[in-house]
Symmetry: none
Subunit: 339 residues, 2 copies
Amino acid sequence: MQSLIEAQKKLLPDLLDVMQKRYRILQYIRLMQPIGRRVLSNSLGISERVLRSEVQFLKEQNLLIMSSAGMSVTSEGNELLHILEDVMREVLGLKDLEKKLKHTLHIEDVIVVAGDSDLSPWVKKEMGRACVACMKERLTDKNIVAVTGGTTLAAVAEMMTPDSKQSDVLFVPARGGLGEDVKNQANTICAKMAEKTMGNYRLLHVPDHLSNEAYQSLIEEPTVKEVLQLIKSSSMVIHGIGDAITMAERRKTPEEDMEKIKARYAVAEAFGYYFNQEGEVVHKVKTVGIQLEDLEHVQHVIAVAGGASKAKAIKAYMKQAPHSILITDEGAARALIRE
Amino acid sequence: MQSLIEAQKKLLPDLLDVMQKRYRILQYIRLMQPIGRRVLSNSLGISERVLRSEVQFLKEQNLLIMSSAGMSVTSEGNELLHILEDVMREVLGLKDLEKKLKHTLHIEDVIVVAGDSDLSPWVKKEMGRACVACMKERLTDKNIVAVTGGTTLAAVAEMMTPDSKQSDVLFVPARGGLGEDVKNQANTICAKMAEKTMGNYRLLHVPDHLSNEAYQSLIEEPTVKEVLQLIKSSSMVIHGIGDAITMAERRKTPEEDMEKIKARYAVAEAFGYYFNQEGEVVHKVKTVGIQLEDLEHVQHVIAVAGGASKAKAIKAYMKQAPHSILITDEGAARALIRE
DNA sequence: TATACATGGACCTAAAATGTCCCGCTATGA
DNA sequence: TCATAGCGGGACATTTTAGGTCCATGTATA
């Protein structure tokens, strides 16, 4: 199979381009369906006319259907996308990127999806899809999955689908309030994931800034305590990685912490922890839930982050998480390798 | 892999056609290099202009070079052809034919090459190439290879190349004179093979029609006797299969034998043996060398024959040679399966 | 040295791809 | 209920490409 594609690259590179184009179109339609020509052509950067021809073709192949609401992928089209997924990764050179990333970042497993989420927001969804596939591969019988917040994780949640095998999954937020926007909060995402997978969830209601005493009494509450217990025993953690300054600014970080973060050259953020270039923790938001050292005992840790702008953060964070699975995009991957 | 190709076909219905076209062009060039556009386009049945475009493309891909003498395949092109060989067999459905042939002929191993040697003479060369590859796979340390005559075997000889591993091969003619044309005689072919592989050879000089007494004294000759000894101990036999009547006519078969061959409904010929539809010997040319019953003790027996017109003969011969390896072409294979 | 065969340039035509503009339909939300 | 944004699709001019045809020029070889 490898050799077939290699050979095809030599013998018909022109056709592979066409294949790639059609694949992208179909893939994007799946992501955004139902969608119309105009929006689609804009998003893909293809002139509307050529898109129209391609779409016409794909329709004749029964890969998509058109309705007054827009175009959607048929089940046949879905199947095709699935079969070709691996091939296209090869064709697009993503496999190659993965190999290089494993080497430069010294990590064991990485998945790179096409595109750059800085440039095209839908790439986040593709990372989401990849993450979901990755999760499904690894989820066994009964599982507790802890998730963090962030726009990337929101994309993951959006792409979640019920697992055909069994849906005995319990979602919990990994850590208490970190000061995010509501729709990007761990709690929200946690609930959404459970809803999409028809699984269960528990939430952790911990106000952002609390006095120490209030804290202590809160975590003694039975309901809170139970959730904390679940979190500690989770078998999978899914989290995003952010740029330190951006994250600090987005959250209502107190002035003094902000100073600290900047003074210590934090570049990456994850779980409410801030890391410098070397992957060392320079600051942490005080809240309950999973702590960095707990990760070691979690079976599967999946980090999801993409976009060239996050390359530095990813690099820093990954320095201290060699056993995490990284799901990223082409933009970040290329930036990482360039360095 | 099949599903991959199916999927590609959905997205790019003419992918395989183009791939096949380019492959054929490259393959043919390798066969005939150096070769010019006119001859090439004629042989392949492609208009000269489209051939020109394709060739231009292949040149840009560094798969072939053009010189004033004509076009030749580069080493990169050769490599590609090699990689693609297996893939194309699959794509062209040859693997499928092989499977069916194994079943209908009850034989263990068969290789089918594309084309029909009745229609395009160069297909014989492809069979030759396949036969050579097959031989190389099976030849071990020191070997004695016995070969027969015929145009097909001549093609095999032509495609022979020195073996990189070792060339400690001794070629001998399988049987004495059978009345063939000089350039298709076993002796000639035997010598040619040795020359091409940089191996050694021994010849067997036995006049065609000899009195019994002369025969007896001849085979007592030390030089003849030695060669006969070698023949009997050969580890590989390569032979063609012919249509009985055609072969009988080509050789200066005496009137009475001719009658016999026809009266007994001979359809196949190999080694100077004539077989009827059931694979029973109905006549044999009297000469020295390997006898049919000796084949059982030979490690590798390879039969090479192609062209739809030979289907009947192949079928008949194979009935009594289930352990032979058959190398044939698409034309013969399809005819065989049709029956 | 003539000949045959090689490539490569030039130009024309047919056909396919693409750009442009517009129309009628329908789902949606005020 | 109705306005409207967004949908697919028709029509046609224009550009680009593929392919047909012919010929010039160079170079081995008999």
